[in-house]
């Protein structure tokens, strides 16, 4: 069974400061609440545990402990009870207990830890879960996941506990910290480092071996397999990214061939994602590849993205960007997006290139950043309910613009892809602060780069996307253009609006 953990760097920092404070000589225990969701297509019931930057974190004062010594700690039962009552009332489904082996560099679970974890798990299964089923007023009845983490000065160990399984401890396979940089922490004693593929020999002087291995272990979702996406995909594989999920529901047209990397006359009519997958498979036989020939708005795409570690966008529309912003926040997935445009004619011609990165819980999202990443008013129009959309159209608020033919050229796509890939590599290697926004104008000769040092914009606490939707995974439906779901939604709306006109009215 595969278990992944993705935790916000700010939470990890607070945990480290509490548990591993210099001079601290006593073991401590803390709890945090997280959201676990099933990993897609995992027959063994794999799971991903999300700890967003908004996750409640309980760091206890010494008087909350019944016993606390150098190598032992026990929480006051009254404190634990209070904590469980609040957890029950929350919408989180995963309880994470964290303790420390402050005295050691590496951390591995001890025999005492095994016993404590089993006792607590038995309590959860035999008392807590049945209580939720019997007393729904205490909180939503739901399966509870139990994650245990032990921190050492350098390393950590983590496992999922479930006494109902034949193997009650499931070790965590990857523990990722999403911050200004992306870190994958070694869990337990780690595994023997794999030898690096000689293909990457010429980048080993500047890409450290650990980062090259991390890239090989990563699964990146590429959304958009058009001109830009076809270049991004190949560049990702050549960087050493080990797994790619390709998402696009479009088919290649003859007019794409001026820029679709590797395209030939025989490509015309082929589904872009499938065709790109075939090309990549021939070039990189070891690449883990999954093709999703569906719209990014399709539930299949959401499931596939939820199994990845990072999103790369090569999109041609803002509706998809608005949607991906929510995916990034709901699943705590860093998202790097590239875009380009050829504007003007004649002496006004300009080649513009842009990339931005949304680091969920770290940087401002696309809705609360000061940068205008998409035309908000126009984009939201696509997500309005059918009734309001029709009303607005009838009232003259929306004009149906004919689909424009967008000028595009291979060279500018290459430039945008190169920009994104360099910054993505930097995100893992940390040569300089991670860029969140870069824009370039060929005509004006300008290149602007905002990064986490010169423009450290943080999530707005009043941004619903960065707060309400952070780390909630599939428990909140993603925004989908009404074209995807109008039929059911509208029917419900009309039916209900009429039924409320009956005389019996209840107080709210």
């Amino acid at each position: 069974m595969k278990v992944k953990v993705r935790i916000a760097a700010s939470v990890m920092e607070r945990l480290r400061a509490y548990h591993l404070a210099p001079g601290k000589r006593a073991e401590a225990l803390s709890y945090l609440w997280a959201q676990a969701y099933p990993l897609p297509d995992d027959p063994d019931g794999g799971l991903c545990v999300l700890v967003p930057h908004t996750a409640p974190l309980m760091l206890f004062a010494p008087d909350c402990f019944l016993r606390q010594s150098g190598g032992n700690v026990q929480l006051d039962p009254a404190v634990l009870n209070g904590l469980l009552v609040r957890f029950a009332a929350s919408s989180f489904n995963c309880l994470v207990n964290v303790h420390d082996h402050w005295f050691s560099e590496q951390a591995t679970f001890s025999g005492v830890d095994d016993r404590d974890d089993r006792i607590f798990d038995r309590y959860l299964r035999e008392r807590f879960e049945p209580m939720l089923r019997r007393h729904p007023h205490l909180g939503m009845a739901r399966p509870i996941f139990n994650l245990s983490v032990v921190l050492g000065q350098q390393g950590l160990d983590a496992r999922l506990i479930d006494g109902r399984r034949s193997r009650d401890f499931a070790p965590v396979n990857s523990f990722d910290v999403v911050g200004d940089r992306f870190e994958r922490l070694a869990v337990g004693l780690g595994s023997a480092p794999q030898t690096l593929d000689e293909v990457f020999d010429r980048q080993r002087d500047f890409v450290p071996a650990a980062q090259q291995r991390l890239l090989a272990a990563l699964d990146v979702a590429l959304v958009g397999c058009g001109g830009l996406g076809s270049i991004l995909a190949e560049a990702l594989a050549r960087l050493g990214v080990g797994g790619l999920v390709l998402v696009d529901d479009d088919r290649l047209e003859a007019t794409n061939l001026n820029r679709w990397q590797g395209g030939s006359p025989a490509s015309v009519g082929q589904p872009k994602a499938t065709h790109l997958g075939e090309r990549l498979r021939a070039m990189f036989p070891r690449l883990r590849l999954r093709v999703v020939d569906r719209s990014v708005f399709a539930p299949e795409a959401e499931r596939a993205l939820s199994g990845c570690d990072l999103i790369v966008g090569g999109l041609d529309n803002d509706e998809a960007r608005y949607h991906l912003n929510r995916v990034a926040l709901q699943y705590s997935l860093p998202w790097f997006d590239a875009g380009c445009a050829v504007t003007g004619v004649g002496a006004e011609t300009d080649f513009r290139v842009r990339m931005f990165a949304i680091l969920p819980g770290v940087s401002a999202c696309g809705e609360c950043t000061q940068y205008i990443l998409w035309d908000r008013e126009r984009t939201l129009e696509a997500f309005l309910d059918e009734a309001t959309a029709r009303s607005r159209r009838a009232a003259g608020y929306v004009l149906d613009a004919p689909a424009a033919r967008t000028p595009s050229v291979y060279a500018v796509n290459q430039r945008a892809a190169a920009l994104l890939e360099t910054e993505l590599l930097n995100y893992f290697c940390g040569w300089r602060p991670t860029a969140t926004m870069i824009s370039e104008s060929w005509r004006a000769g300008t290149f602007q780069r905002a990064d986490r040092e010169n423009f450290p914009e943080t999530p707005d606490p009043e941004c619903p996307i960065c707060s309400y939707y952070a780390g909630v995974a599939q428990t909140e439906p993603l925004p989908r253009p009404r074209a995807m779901h109008a039929a059911t939604s509208l029917a419900g709306l009309l039916l209900d609006a009429q039924s409320t006109q009956t005389p019996e009215v209840h107080h709210g």
């Binding site: 919408s91 939503m140 539930p299 929510r326 908000r376 008013e377 939201l380 997500f383 309005l384 309910d385 059918e386 009734a387 309001t388 029709r390 009303s391 607005r392 009838a394 009232a395 003259g396 608020y397 707005d460 606490p461 009043e462 941004c463 619903p464 996307i465 707060s467 309400y468 939707y469 909630v472 599939q474 428990t475 909140e476 439906p477 925004p479 779901h485 059911t488 939604s489 509208l490 419900g492 709306l493 009309l494 209900d496 609006a497 009429q498 039924s499 409320t500 006109q501 009215v505 209840h506 107080h507 709210g508």
Partner: protein, 156 residues
């Protein structure tokens, strides 16, 4: 069909129930309307909208109340985009409102409206900037503030 999207998540329902209670508190500030009925707010069965009966209108409107419908299917990601007023048997009042809100004087009222008996009014709350705090909804923007601003605007 995703049941979640139809019923709303339990969290969203909880947030909307808070909104409903908060709107009811706002309505309770007002005296009973001329029809003698109470002013009430109710969440639609699918949590995609809420309805208000006898929402107060400022002095000068006859009658001084109207039934409303607010779509909440994108709540809390975005503010409600405009609101719906019940026009059935309310033609004179609609005429009065039309003088205040030019937006719905247009075709919408004369064509068959998408929600039977309701007419949409274009009302942009705070330029559609929406500062919502899930942890403390009273502090940020919320649907009560949205409705209270519309009430204030219909007074001007």
């Amino acid at each position: 069909m995703n049941l979640n999207s139809l019923l709303g998540s339990p969290r969203k329902l909880a947030q909307l129930r808070w909104e409903v209670a908060n709107i009811q508190a706002f309505l309770d500030h007002f005296d009973r309307p001329l029809n003698g009925e109470s002013r009430t707010v109710q969440l639609g069965q699918t949590a995609e909208f809420l309805t208000v009966r006898n929402f107060p209108l400022p002095d000068g409107y006859r009658p001084d109340y109207i039934d409303l419908l607010v779509v909440t299917d994108n709540f809390p990601a975005t503010p409600p985009i405009g609101l719906y007023v019940l026009h059935r048997n309310n033609q004179a009042l609609i005429g009065q409102l039309q003088r205040r809100f030019n937006a719905f004087a247009d075709q919408a009222f004369h064509e068959a409206p998408p929600i039977r008996d309701y007419t949409w009014i274009c009302y942009h709350y705070g330029g559609n900037a929406w500062r919502y705090r899930a942890d403390q909804p009273a502090r940020g923007d919320n649907i009560r503030k949205f409705l209270a601003s519309w009430f204030a605007e219909s007074n001007q």
